[in-house]
């Protein structure tokens, strides 16, 4: 299943996230007008999410590990925003 969402990150920018998953994540693409230093970190995060169980708890674990990375500087994008977007891809958001 392939899902695409646009979420407003509490850090200020709109994130456009595409997730292809089927029990586990096949691919995640994170796009938007945010800043990340070093830039390659976002590519690595996408790579780290590949193969992870399509489940909020597992995804959160990967994100938390990513955000504890030394020297990472993010502007306009946050753990909360990313998690919201990825959760929305899984269809676990409150539909009401």
């Amino acid at each position: 299943m392939r899902k695409k969402v646009i979420v407003e990150d509490p850090a200020g920018k709109f994130l456009k996230i595409t997730m292809d998953f089927n029990g586990e994540i096949n691919e995640v693409v994170i796009t938007g007008d945010f800043f990340a230093h070093p830039e390659e970190a976002i590519d690595e995060l996408q790579e780290n999410l590949r193969g992870v169980k399509a489940d909020e708890k597992e995804i959160r674990k990967v994100l938390e590990e990513f955000f504890s990375r030394e020297g990472l500087r993010l502007y306009g994008i946050s753990l909360e925003g990313l998690l919201n977007g990825l959760k929305e891809c899984l269809g676990e958001e409150d539909e009401n």
Partner: protein, 252 residues
């Protein structure tokens, strides 16, 4: 080591971005001195941020019809329509002069040169975090930074004129209603030198004011030079092999 200033005139999108990266590489290797550059875009171009998707952000058919270039930057941030503006880049070692280590502070450190240049033109602008310069609450300059190999590359635009209608014709938006809203909002939030000064500003005059603004705020005197032949040929090759390719521009 002295800092040089390059004035490279109006070039294509791929060449402009390739020159910035070539200079970054050479500053990192010590082959080039700390460098500031002032330039423009011909043809006009849309650049997108490193993390954006070209097909999602830009109406490629309209751009092609109107002869507008498109290119992905190595810096993050949003889509920019480069037409009547002066663009600058500052490519300096992370420990150059008094440049702060912190990213937000280093944005401001470099942007103060633009504020100084604008003052000389009669505009009282101020830095507005993270990466804008505003006058009377309206944005007149947007900036973006990357740090690679111990080098800070910051580039940004100073608007001579602004045309929100044209800009949002080139960018993809979800609906016509949204387009109208975005145009209205840009007219309220973005200004230009021409609008502020009620006259038509000359590219070269703005370039001179900005060059002097940087010198004054950074307390240095530039060596006014040109790209070396080696740099130019490296940049031409990089333009062709990276910035003009589908692989790079359609990466996301």
């Amino acid at each position: 080591m002295r800092t040089r200033l390059l004035q490279t005139g109006h070039l294509s999108a791929a060449t402009n971005m390739a020159i910035d990266e070539t200079v970054l590489r050479r500053v990192a290797s010590g082959e080039a001195p700390p460098t500031f550059r002032l330039y423009g875009w011909k043809p006009p171009a849309v650049s997108i941020g490193y993390f954006q998707s070209l097909v999602e952000e830009v109406d490629l058919e309209v751009c092609e019809d109107r002869g507008v270039d498109v290119v992905r930057r190595i810096t993050g941030g949003g889509a920019v329509f480069h037409d009547a503006e002066v663009t600058y880049s500052a490519i300096v070692p992370q420990n150059w002069e008094a440049i702060p280590e912190s990213i937000p502070e280093s944005y401001q450190f470099i942007c103060e040169g633009i504020v100084e240049g604008l003052k000389d033109l009669g505009i009282r602008a101020h830095f507005q975090g993270l990466n804008d310069i505003a006058v009377g609450g309206k944005k007149i300059s947007g900036n973006a930074q990357t740090r690679r190999k111990g080098v800070v590359l910051q580039h940004g635009t100073i608007l001579i004129d602004v045309d929100p209608e044209k800009m949002f014709t080139l960018l993809r938006v979800p609906s016509e209603k949204t387009r109208k809203k975005l145009i209205k909002s840009a007219k309220e939030r973005v200004t230009s030198l021409n609008e502020m000064l009620s006259k038509s500003m000359d590219f070269e005059d703005v370039v001179s004011a900005l060059a002097e603004g940087f010198e004054k705020s950074l307390r240095l005197e530039f060596d006014r030079t040109q790209l070396t032949e080696e740099e130019m040929s490296e940049a031409d090759e990089l333009a062709e092999k990276k910035y003009a390719t589908r692989d790079w521009n359609f990466m996301r």
